[in-house]
């Protein structure tokens, strides 16, 4: 048993080492290529994008923010900075999660870095009257009677880090409030979280409320939380269910295609 585990670890380490070597080689190559590039501008942009990706993967918030500011100062195309700098970073984080290398603390830290960088870039995009790319608008919250925040906040962070525009209503949110906000913001998704076995029933009530108001079908409804499962989601006719923050992102992307 122990032997197997240490073997696994060893193999994983070697795999990582290999990956690192390849990575280093690629970086070397890029550096060499950039050296040949006569325009200093490109060199720094490529480097900047690589650094952005790295800041997200490593969960370095200060660095992520500083690089965003640098991009603004150097007049780098901000959407390019997002799409080719930060987003590949968070995608890599997702991969590392899938591979079992990253756990929740890494995941949430990277998502927060993403948020910090976006906090710098979004106002600039607005100033320049460039529309920030968004996969869709999400209204999210924990249903009334339930003040548990953690699971919902994780989903909120991961959705936002992966390009959704997220309006987080917090915890203990009145069911009507979700609808008001979703209508006002013309949201694509409403995500309801519940940690308590007693409050998950609020998710069912919510869908009944939507039906009453003739709004059922207008928004895609996703549910989650410790006591919630796919069957429950099916029973109450929610569109999607996610077991964790990463699958929430996948599920939301899937629902976009439907």
């Amino acid at each position: 048993m122990l032997k197997g585990r240490s073997m696994n670890r060893k193999m994983r380490k070697e795999k990582l080492k290999k990956e690192k070597n390849t990575k280093e080689r690629i970086v070397e190559k890029e550096k060499n290529r950039n050296k040949l590039n006569s325009k200093g501008e490109n060199v720094s942009k490529e480097e900047l994008l690589t650094k952005m990706k790295k800041s997200i993967i490593e969960g370095n918030k200060d660095e992520a923010k500083a690089l965003a500011r640098e991009a603004v100062e150097k007049h780098v195309d901000l959407n390019e900075a997002i799409d080719e700098g930060y987003v590949p970073g968070i995608q890599k984080v997702g991969d590392l999660w899938e591979e079992g290398e990253y756990f929740l603390p890494e995941l949430i830290t990277s998502a927060e870095c993403m948020k910090a960088a976006m906090g710098v870039l979004k106002p600039e995009l607005k100033k320049a009257q460039i529309k920030a790319k968004s996969l869709g608008k999400v209204v999210i919250g924990t249903v009334e009677g339930d003040i548990h925040d953690i699971g919902k906040s994780l989903v909120s962070s991961m959705l936002s880090a992966n390009g959704f525009e997220v309006i987080d209503l917090g915890a203990d949110v009145k069911l009507e409030k979700f609808i008001e906000m979703a209508e006002a913001e013309d949201a694509d998704f409403i995500c309801l979280s519940a940690l308590l076995t007693t409050t998950m029933l609020g998710q069912k009530k919510f869908i009944e409320l939507l039906k009453e108001k003739n709004l059922f079908g207008r928004f895609k409804i996703m549910v989650g939380g410790a006591p919630v499962n796919q069957k429950w989601a099916d029973d109450i006719s929610a569109d999607g269910y996610a077991e964790n923050a990463m699958t929430a992102v996948k599920e939301a992307k899937n629902l976009l295609r439907k």
Partner: protein
């Protein structure tokens, strides 16, 4: 001279306990706690405590905590439904009760979880009533055939009708307290009698980190005034809603529970309070809260030790599992938990029957866990010198042919020294085969059915039940529901109440 020692588990050094308490005091005073209840905030103000009205944050001084601790009873006496049998909640007395508030039950035939109905709750309550090693009852399952809004009072109503044992319960809404208290008063005869002989414990959970919601704070205040013991259920999750280290989570746990204790004492000096909890190790991979994790049990055992240091009665959610069926994980997590809890001298141990992160109950598991609890009780009874001399006299006239089976000494002591399980397998292989190679789960299912078949329910006095029924019906009607499910009380379909 009594040579028996009660085996005991202590995880913390005294200096560490003091350090944890000291840091909890600092947090209470410097960071403060959110108390989202107007009445409680007023109580704090009256006690001269700084309250930030806007954020509903109170900054509790060490002096107030000390005063509150000194007015909190170190021992609570709980009584069964008849009011005759007394249970000490305090010192190192251990009482197991089923894990509470499951929303699903395992259907033994399909091995699937399904929503529970009134009928399941009745079976569960009756079974618990019959299982010897479960001293207390708990309102363990939520019935899906009544509206969620009245599910708190409804489960107590069922529990009081079908069981003699003291009850661990709690409210799901502020308005739930009144009908629940009224039922308890109806059983006792008067408010004063209920105060003198508490029949139920009410759970109240702060929300990590450092927050008491309106509902749970109100429960503390209402219970304190009615003389109903409040069980403080702090539930940090390591690294998610509380510090990642066990010691760090203990600091938060102590701070949250002490805030609850202060609220109880402000509402009524001398109010009975139990220092409990349902904290857990947070799984950084799955994002779940495993109750069967060894770290979870370590937190439980340690906060209980701290509570004992503070001279308070204790509670924990232990002796339960995260398994989804009655497999070896179910047994091992429950077994380790129950034994550690008993060794820690925790007074109220809620867990038996429960699986899947406190969300599911199983009648089969309840039967199995009852045996685990029996083993735990035997363990803490320790090893005694029964006679003097211990054994030399048994060897008088010793020969090669001597055996002990027929000695009067054996006959006299074997039932005290050894316990006999009902579902744990001790058969020879061939005999086990001849019985149909049944699994523990199958044997437990048969045992549960047998118990329910052979024991008639310990029903409440008819007149008192009519009172309870009125209270329940009125609560249901206030919530626009009038058709309470019919309750089958015996085998005859004619014996129905509530139709």
């Amino acid at each position: 001279m009594n040579l028996t020692i009660r085996p005991k588990l202590e995880l913390l050094k005294k200096e560490l306990i003091e350090k944890i308490i000291e840091e909890a005091y600092i947090i209470l005073e410097k960071q403060g706690v959110y108390v989202e209840n107007i009445e409680a905030l007023e109580l704090f103000k009256e006690a001269g405590i700084r309250v930030d009205d806007e954020t509903q944050r109170v900054f509790i001084t060490s002096q107030l905590v000390e005063d509150s601790l000194s007015s909190t009873p170190s021992v609570i006496k709980l009584y069964d439904r008849s009011g005759d049998k007394e249970f000490i909640v305090g010192e190192d007395e251990v009482h197991f009760d089923p894990g509470s508030t499951a929303v699903t039950i395992i259907d033994h035939k399909t091995q699937e979880q399904r929503k529970a109905l009134t009928e399941d709750l009745v079976k569960f309550t009756r079974l618990t009533d019959c299982l010897d090693h479960l001293h207390f009852q708990s309102t363990g399952i939520i019935s899906s055939d009544v509206p969620e809004i009245i599910s708190d009072s409804y489960r107590l109503y069922i529990c009081l009708q079908f069981s003699e044992k003291p009850i661990v319960t709690g409210t799901f809404r502020v308005e739930g307290f009144k009908p629940m208290k009224d039922m308890l008063v109806a059983v006792r005869g008067s408010e004063k009698a209920l105060e003198e002989r508490p029949l139920a414990i009410f759970d109240a959970c702060p929300s990590p980190a450092l927050k008491w919601s309106n509902l749970t704070t109100q429960s503390l205040i209402d219970c304190a005034r009615a003389g109903i013991p409040s069980e403080l259920i702090s539930m940090g999750m390591t690294g998610a809603t509380s510090p990642v280290t066990i010691a760090g989570t203990l600091v938060q746990h102590v701070a949250e529970n002490l805030c609850g204790l202060v609220i109880c004492q402000l509402a009524k000096k001398g109010a009975p309070v139990i220092f409990g909890g349902s904290p857990s190790s947070f799984d950084m991979r799955k994002g779940t809260t495993p109750m069967g994790a060894i770290e979870t049990m370590m937190i439980d055992s340690a906060y209980a030790q701290i509570a004992k240091h503070l001279n308070l009665p204790t509670h924990a959610y232990m002796g339960l599992s995260d398994a989804k069926i009655n497999d070896s994980q179910a047994g091992l997590e429950t077994g380790i938990g129950a034994v550690l809890a008993a060794l820690s001298g925790i007074n109220v141990i809620s867990g038996p029957g429960m699986m899947d992160f406190e969300s599911c109950q199983s009648l089969e598991k309840l039967v199995i866990d009852n045996e685990i609890c029996g083993m735990a009780y035997r363990l803490i009874e320790g090893i005694s010198q029964r006679e003097d001399p211990i054994a030399t006299n048994l060897f008088d006239g010793f020969t090669k042919e001597t055996q002990f089976l027929s000695m009067p000494h054996t006959r006299k002591w074997y039932r005290q020294e050894h316990i006999f399980p009902r579902v744990i397998d001790r058969d020879t292989y061939d005999y086990w085969v001849s019985l149909g190679k049944k699994s523990m789960d199958d044997r437990a299912s048969e045992e549960a059915e047998k118990i329910l078949r052979e024991n008639s329910p310990s029903l409440l006095d008819k007149n008192i039940f009519q009172e309870l029924h009125k209270i329940m019906l009125s609560d249901a009607r206030n919530n626009s529901f009038s058709a309470l499910p019919e309750i089958k009380i015996g085998s005859s379909p004619k014996e129905l109440i509530g139709s």
